[in-house]
Structure formats: C-alpha cells, structure tokens
Symmetry: C2
C-alpha cells in the first residue's frame, strides 16, 4: 500500500468537516494537492526575502554550493504551508503553529512539482486549557522524482470539540 | 552591557570581510538592521502562502486565536532570513541552511519594526570534508517593544579558509 493509498483510506474514514483535537490520532495521514515551482517564482521570492546568488541568478548559481538555481528553503517552507492549508488536514481553527523542526534534505528546483505527505505523530490535550491541545504533524514535501525537499515536524494548536 | 553593545563590540573586533568557519567561534554576536512590517505586506504574503483569515482579514482575525491580524509565521521567518542575509553575520558562501528548529513565542503584527539578534553557539569542522563545516546560529527576531516573535536555531554550512 503506498502512502497515497493509506492517505486516501484515512481520508475516506474521516468526515469531510473540520477536524478537532478529538478527531485526531497518531498515524492519521494526509496527502496534499500539488504546486508547480518555476524560475520566476524562485527569483521573486528570493529577491524579496533571500537575495543570494544561488536563488536569484542561474549563471552565478552554477558556481555555488547548489550548482544551479535552487529555491530558498523558506520559499519551500512557505509552499508547504500553502499546500497544507489548502489541501492538507482540515484542522478546525486552521494551521496555528507554535514551533517545530525543519530540514531541507535536497533543494527544490525550477520545474519541480511539489506535494506534501503529512502524518499525525502526537496528540496532546492541554492540561490547563480544556478547550484545546496540540498535535505534532510530520510533513514531507516531495518533488515529482520522489526527492524530499523539506521535512518538517510542526507543533500545532488545535481546538477541542468542547469549545465549538 | 546590552546585547546591542555586546554585538557592536564583537563586530568591531572582527573584519568587515566575509567570515569563514575558521573566523567563527561560540559567543560571537551580531545585530541586524530593521524591517518595518505593514498590513499590506502581511496580507500579500498570506494570500500567496498562508491564506488563513487571521493573516488576511483584520475583522475576521479579531474572532480567532490571534485576536487581530498577525503575520504568517513563515513571513516572520522569511523576513528574518532577509535581515540575516543583508545585515547579519557576513558568512563566506552566504547563508546555506541544512535545517533547524524554530518557534514563534508571539505573533508579528502590523506596524512592528523587527530586527534580529544572533549568536554563534557551535562551530563544527566537517570530518569528511576539509573544505567546510557547520555552525549553529541562534537568532531571535524582536519587535520595537522587545517582544520576541521568532526564535530560530539554524544549522548552517560554512566554507573553511582552505577552500578559498
């Protein structure tokens, strides 16, 4: 069973409505839609937030650590957020991050078609706030060749049903 | 002695040239320039990468977890990158991140004037690659009231002088 099939099965079992903390459990998986990354997007993001030659100039990028134009890691993270918000787990209250860990095993490149595979790895009701809790969501952002361009372990605040 | 004074002293001691791994040591501190965040920037970033009401709509944001318009955490991270690239430690080879941890203790809001205070906390030459190593850089992104809006511990790849 592929991760996509696991995810579809999981999605079929759960409501299409928003997910509260009470609806979530470790092992639940979700697969996002796709996002196509191009040269213009890479340069536009980099000029605004990460103006370094390996993100802004194909020719200069050849002579750098990246050996060619690469998306800013923050651009990859931002695209991952968009994919999760639009087609990841439909969390009640939205994606509210408290923090997390991330790594970029490979750079995202022009022409990459990215999607996100996410898994709930922890669900923790708050001891002091009965209306909420946190989950840890492990997301992998993957290109069309199966290369992982971002691994992210995010701690998210999720409301409980009692609050609804 | 404030952190800004420590930083200025540190900057005065080091060359204005690019810093190689060999130039870096735990305890070195750097303070960036500033970046003013406004409503239009918050909405523009969010519409592109994090389209949730608390980042795109002042009125809807009032009734959410954030109780008012807040910048996407990825926007805050991207601004932090820009401040570090433009006016943080002048790393030889630029800012090349392998990964890290981040947390958002408070949201960044419209009108915030942000700066970044960074400290080198680890310097590790590579065992297998004599031309490089890694550092861990702890960065705090701080607004004009002293609220910390992002804490980031980044593992960065830095070339050694032997490679120059």
């Amino acid at each position: 069973m592929t991760m996509a099939q696991v995810s579809s099965a999981a999605e079929a079992r759960i409501s299409s409505d928003q997910l509260y903390l009470d609806d979530l459990h470790a092992g639940q998986r979700f697969t996002s839609g796709t996002y196509r990354l191009d040269v213009a997007q890479i340069k536009a993001f980099a000029l605004q937030f990460d103006p370094q030659p390996f993100h802004t100039d194909e020719h200069a990028a050849e002579r750098t650590f990246f050996k060619g134009l690469a998306a800013s890691g923050w651009h990859t993270a931002a695209i991952t957020m968009r994919l999760n918000v639009e087609s990841g787990p439909p969390l009640a209250g939205g994606f509210v991050g408290a923090g997390g860990e991330l790594s970029w095993p490979a750079p995202a490149r022009p022409g990459d078609v990215l999607h996100v595979e996410s898994e709930v790895v922890e669900v923790t009701p708050s001891r002091s706030r009965p209306d909420r809790g946190t989950i840890v969501l492990l997301s992998r952002t993957i290109n069309q060749r199966g290369d992982i361009v971002l691994i992210q372990k995010a701690k998210l605040v999720v409301p409980r049903k009692v609050a609804a």
